[in-house]
Structure formats: structure tokens, C-alpha cells
């Protein structure tokens, strides 16, 4: 069974190659555009995603959920079609959909530039300059789309099995080459590759169902499937939603068992400003992954700097207060409003210092536990903490940005000390996170030093056994027993400390914490 996925920025080129190959393989070709229409017809706001990329809109929680729904729908559709037999699927960056399935051939097609310009001029009835500008703008948009949806560039070569540059090869020859390639043993189905596709398909089906049901559409659920067993993880603040999950999922073909698990703990990240591209974000997300934790974001600022005073706005889902039902609208297949929603009071343009963008990244990583903003004195942070959320760590990020560096450091330490006193949870400054909880170069050096120390102690003991035994119990030292006792009291704990430290760090590296 051959599954060939053809990606190209130029729709006409990929369509021609897909048709050519499908004819050779004796199967049908399917395009992204066909799936897109079906997705839109079921109420998934694909157009909003596309326009968000075009207009470079700031990431929003709602966009992140629309993105998840879109990906689930497309993955489900492609897997369903691929399970029936040979498939040639083409789209702008569809090679990133079925990752980890060995019998899928992922092909990049680079269109012949002059032909592309001429095609655009003829099809869109544009003059040459406008056609070139159109192509340039579109290519830039498509690369942004790839980053937005999949987090990687459109033409990143490591995601392709083959690249055709149509300046050097005709579509007919490219089709023939792909047809031969599809016969290679490397791209034949195996029990493992079929199982991987079934797992992907099942997870997508469940994700799609959860994402389009009113009870679960606003929840951040991680779905994975393994041989018919579906595991759905939810965040601690969403325990009420969790009860409804089995009913929402219902009976799904291929699902033998559905297990709901809760992220065991929460990490609270408090900052005045968030940056999803910062090293602190990576460290917090990494730690959340290691601990199976959800990350809650709390933007805190002092009143004189803030837009609101003493107020609190929670964007969180599930049990968090202040969520309007319209915050997570459920896709509607038959929209009686003609696609015109009601105006709401919410402002799309309130500056949030990276809060929404960071939330969006956490949603994509399945680690989002809620987000909120609060202004006021330090006490407002304590009152903002959710009593029903089990926090295991509070991370203090960028704070007091308008102050000088020296004052900022002092105030950050003050707030850390204040929170340590007020809440019974470990509180740590972001700069110390790597050192305390995540393996880095320092940890490697400590492992090396500890292992070296342990080796020296054990080496000396085992190569000087006679002298050691003599020292501990020999007649020559009979009057110096106190030294033997002191020696044991010092060396044994030292050896245990060094060995224990090294093995502990090694286990941390192996994520056995």
C-alpha cells in the first residue's frame, strides 16, 4: 500500500504531479482543498486561521483551539482515506501531518519559477509584476502558516524523503520516479507502520470529537492512542470536564478502552511579561513535561504600571472563574447567523505582554493550565491563587520591568521571600530554575566530579585493602582506635554522598525523578 504526500507552495504544480502519480499507481488523489471545505462545512473556522496568518494576528487562545480542531480533522481525514488503500495526497505542507509512519513517502516539489509566474498571470489575470509580488507574498504567508500550524518552516529538508526541483525534471519523470519509489521495500507497510497510523487516526478521531463538543471544546486535553487504548489527560482545573469525557467520546471505532488521567500538579509562573521564545519558557515547559504538570500563567503588575487596579481577569478554562461561554465557541456545522457573530464587550487588543502568545504555545504543548492577570500589591497574588489547584512550584519570571536592574533584582527577591512566607509551596526565581531542576552543563560537571571522587575512594580502598584492614583492626593501630572510628565516620558518608549525588543526577538526566 503506497501513501505519497506531496507538498508544494504552488497548488497547480502539486495538483499536476499528484494526478500524474495517482494515474500511474491506479488510485485517486486527494487535495488539502477538498479536506478544507469539509472542515469548514463542519464548522471549523479554518478561514480564521488562514487570515490570522495573513494579517499576522497575535496568537489567541481561541486560535490555538481552532488550530487543534483543524489538525485533528485533517489528520483524521487523511488517515481514514489512507487506510482504504493507495493514496496520493497533496497540500501546501501536508508532509508534516503523518509523522513517524514509515510507509508514507513525503515529497517536496519546487516549482519551475518562470512557469509558475506564467500560470499565475494566466489564472489570476494579473500582469507580470503583480504576479511576482503575489507569489512572493504567498510564499512568505505559507512559510508563516507552516510555523504557525506545525512549528517548523515549510521547506525544512529533514521532514522530506525526496525533493523534486522541477527546473531539472519534468512532472512526468517525477511521477515515474515516485511510482518506482513507492515499490521500494523501505516504503511498504509493516505491522508496526500500520499500527502507528491506526494510533494516529484513533487519537485524531477522539481529539476531533472532544474539540467539537460543547462540554469539552474549551478544555486542554492531551490525547494519545496505543493499540486501541486511548489516554486523555486533563489539567487539574478541569476535573469537572473530565467526568463528561467518556460520554462525549462515546463509541469510536477502534477504541477499546478510554482512560482519563489528570495532570498531577500545577506549576504557577508569575511574571509581568511573558515571552514564549525565551529560555525560561523552554525550561518551564520542559519541567512541566518531566513532572506531568500543567502550567498556569499569572501576569502581575503593580497598580501604577497597570491598566487595571486590584482587578483580576482569568482566561483560564474549567473551574476557573470569569469564563464566559462565548470564550470557547463550539463549531457549528449549520450556522443560522450566516457567520456573523454577536458583538461582545471583550477587547481583542488589550496589551497582555506576551500572555496570550505564551498561553497559545502551552496549549499547543498540551500543558496549559490557565492564565490570568492581576494588578495590585503583593497580597493580590496570594488571593489570586486558586485554592483547588495543587501547585508544586511557583516560578517568578520577569518583574518590575520599569525599574532599574538593581532595584528589579531586589524587588524580585522581596516578592519571592514574601510568597515563600505566605504560601506553603516552593517558590523559585526563573534564573535558578535550570540550576535547581533541569539538567545542564553544571549538572554534567557535578556528575563527573562526583563519579571521580567515588572512583578515587573505592579505588584507594580496594587497592589498599591490606593497609585499610590493618588501620581498622590491625595490631599496629591498636592504640589508635579512635582514628579508625573517625576515618569510617568521614569516609563512608563522603562516599555515600558522592555516589548518591552522581546517581541522582544521572536519574534526573534520564527523567527518572
Amino acid at each position: 500500500m503506497a501513501v505519497v504526500i506531496i507538498s508544494s507552495a504552488d497548488e497547480q504544480t502539486r495538483r499536476e504531479l499528484a494526478k500524474n502519480l495517482a494515474r500511474k499507481l491506479g488510485c485517486e488523489s486527494m487535495s488539502r482543498e477538498q479536506i478544507l471545505d469539509a472542515a469548514t462545512d463542519t464548522g471549523i473556522a479554518v478561514g480564521k486561521l488562514e487570515v490570522a496568518v495573513l494579517k499576522r494576528l497575535a496568537p489567541r487562545e481561541r486560535l490555538a483551539r481552532d488550530k487543534a480542531r483543524y489538525l485533528a480533522f485533517v489528520t483524521e481525514s487523511v488517515c481514514e482515506r489512507a487506510s482504504k488503500g493507495d493514496l496520493v495526497y497533496h497540500g501546501r505542507n501536508c508532509h508534516l501531518l503523518l509523522q513517524g509512519i514509515s510507509h508514507v513517502i513525503r515529497v517536496c516539489v519546487v516549482p519551475e519559477p518562470e512557469r509558475r509566474i506564467n500560470n499565475v498571470m494566466a489564472r489570476l489575470r494579473l500582469d507580470r509584476d503583480k504576479a511576482i509580488e503575489y507569489i512572493s507574498n504567498l510564499d512568505s504567508d505559507l512559510d508563516n502558516w507552516s510555523h504557525f500550524i506545525h512549528g517548523v518552516g515549510l521547506t525544512d529538508p529533514q521532514h522530506f524523503d525526496l525533493v523534486f526541483n522541477l527546473q531539472n525534471i519534468s512532472i512526468e519523470s517525477a511521477g515515474a520516479a515516485l511510482c518506482s519509489m513507492a515499490q521500494l521495500s523501505d516504503f511498504q507497510t509493516t505491522p508496526a507502520s500500520i499500527r502507528a497510523m491506526k494510533n494516529l487516526w484513533l487519537a485524531a478521531k477522539v481529539r476531533h470529537k472532544l474539540g467539537t463538543h460543547e462540554l469539552t471544546a474549551g478544555a486542554d486535553l492531551r490525547v494519545s492512542a496505543q493499540d486501541g487504548r486511548v489516554t486523555i489527560s486533563y489539567m487539574p482545573g478541569q476535573s469537572k470536564i473530565a467526568a463528561a469525557i467518556p460520554d462525549v467520546v462515546g463509541v469510536i471505532d477502534g477504541a477499546q478502552e478510554i482512560v482519563c488521567t489528570m495532570a498531577t500538579t500545577n506549576i504557577l509562573w508569575i511574571a509581568e511579561s511573558f515571552d514564549p521564545s525565551s529560555s525560561l519558557f523552554t525550561e518551564v515547559a520542559d519541567l512541566a513535561g518531566r513532572w506531568g504538570a500543567a502550567v498556569e500563567l499569572l501576569r502581575w503588575f503593580t497598580p501604577q504600571e497597570g491598566e487595571i487596579e486590584g482587578g483580576e481577569t482569568w482566561l483560564a478554562v474549567g473551574s476557573s472563574p470569569g469564563i464566559s461561554p462565548s470564550a470557547h465557541p463550539v463549531p457549528k456545522a449549520m450556522d443560522p447567523t450566516g457567520g456573523i457573530e454577536d458583538d461582545t464587550e471583550e477587547s481583542e487588543d488589550v496589551p497582555d505582554n506576551g500572555l496570550a502568545a505564551t498561553a497559545e504555545r502551552l496549549i499547543a504543548a498540551g500543558r496549559f493550565g490557565g492564565a490570568g492577570m492581576v494588578a495590585g500589591q503583593m497580597e493580590t497574588i496570594v488571593t489570586a491563587l486558586k485554592s483547588d489547584h495543587r501547585y508544586s512550584l511557583v516560578v517568578i519570571g520577569e518583574m518590575f520591568l520599569s525599574r532599574t536592574a538593581l532595584l528589579r533584582t531586589r524587588l524580585t527577591r522581596d516578592i519571592t521571600s514574601f510568597l515563600k512566607e505566605k504560601v506553603n509551596i516552593p517558590v523559585i526565581i526563573g534564573d535558578e530554575l535550570q540550576e535547581r531542576f533541569l539538567p545542564g552543563k553544571r549538572h554534567l560537571l557535578r556528575i563527573a566530579a562526583s563519579l571521580l571522587g567515588t572512583a578515587i575512594i573505592f579505588g584507594l580502598v580496594f587497592t589498599h585493602q591490606e593497609q585499610v584492614l590493618d588501620f581498622l583492626a590491625g595490631p599496629a593501630w591498636i592504640n589508635w582506635r579512635i582514628l579508625a572510628v573517625l576515618g569510617i565516620a568521614i569516609v563512608v558518608p563522603l562516599a555515600a554522598y558522592l555516589y548518591g549525588g552522581a546517581t541522582g543526577l544521572i536519574l534526573k538526566l534520564m527523567k527518572f525523578e
Binding site: L36, A45, E50, L54, L124, G338, G339, E341
Partner: protein, 143 residues
């Protein structure tokens, strides 16, 4: 003398015109709604409109064809394209062909009001910064 901003709204779903016309009236825009592209084009031929808002996917005619004909007749008219089936390719095509802006369904009336206000300002009308709060029933040409 104040002059009304004239807008033609074309969407083959009647509910769109019913919902948007009152919303646009709040910023002093006089809206004529059409569900039939040919009837809309006939009206455009007979009367000048400052702004045309058109859907793309319609049974009788493509919205991009409407865009072409509107600009052919009146290059100063600002055409705003709306669609439930937006793609980057279609949006770029519309913009390359002279559309003023592009908006994907579902959207809130205020989203369109903002774009219409921007188009009106580009035509020289004075429109309040926040159209939602605008109490001005009329646009006021600056030129």
C-alpha cells in the same frame, strides 16, 4: 453639508445583510443589501457606492468577479471581501486584484465596522476612532 457613506453589501445568505446593515448604520453607513450578484452589479452600474462588501462563494457569480467589475466601473470604490472559505491563496488573490481588505467568517459586526471605518477614512470621510461608540450618523468628507 454632511454626506452619507454609501455601502453595498452582497451575500447570498439573506441573514448576513439583515444582521450587518443595522450594525453598520451605527457608524453612519447607509447600507443596501443584495443576495443576487447580478442585481447588485446592476445597482452598482446605476449608483455610486463608496464601499462594496462582497462574499466570495456565491451560486451565480464569484465574488472576485464582482470585485473586478466594481473596480472597473469605479476604481475609487473600496471593496471588502468576506468569505467562510478563506485561504491564504484566495486572500492574496483578492488583495492582488485590488480588494481593500479581507475578512473571514465567522466574524463580529465590530470587526467589519473597523474595516469599513478604515476604508471610509481612506476615502476622506471622518470616522470616529472607535466605531462602536460612534454617535455620528453621517460621514463627513474631509476633501
Amino acid at each position: 453639508m454632511k454626506q452619507q457613506i454609501r455601502l453595498l453589501l452582497l451575500d447570498d445568505e439573506p441573514i448576513v445583510g439583515k444582521r450587518l446593515a443595522p450594525a453598520l448604520a451605527k457608524i453612519g453607513v447607509e447600507t443596501e443589501s443584495f443576495t443576487d450578484p447580478e442585481a447588485a452589479l446592476q445597482q452598482i452600474g446605476e449608483k455610486d457606492f463608496d464601499i462594496v462588501v462582497t462574499d466570495i462563494r456565491m451560486d451565480k457569480m464569484d465574488g472576485l468577479e464582482v470585485l473586478r467589475r466594481v473596480l472597473q466601473k469605479s476604481p475609487r470604490t473600496k471593496v471588502i471581501v468576506i468569505t467562510g472559505y478563506a485561504t491564504l491563496e484566495i486572500a492574496r488573490e483578492a488583495l492582488a486584484k485590488g480588494a481593500f481588505d479581507f475578512i473571514a467568517k465567522p466574524f463580529k459586526p465590530n470587526d467589519l465596522r473597523n474595516i469599513v471605518a478604515r476604508a471610509a477614512r481612506a476615502l476622506g470621510y471622518k470616522v470616529k476612532e472607535n466605531p462602536v461608540d460612534s454617535s455620528s450618523a453621517h460621514g463627513d468628507p474631509e476633501t
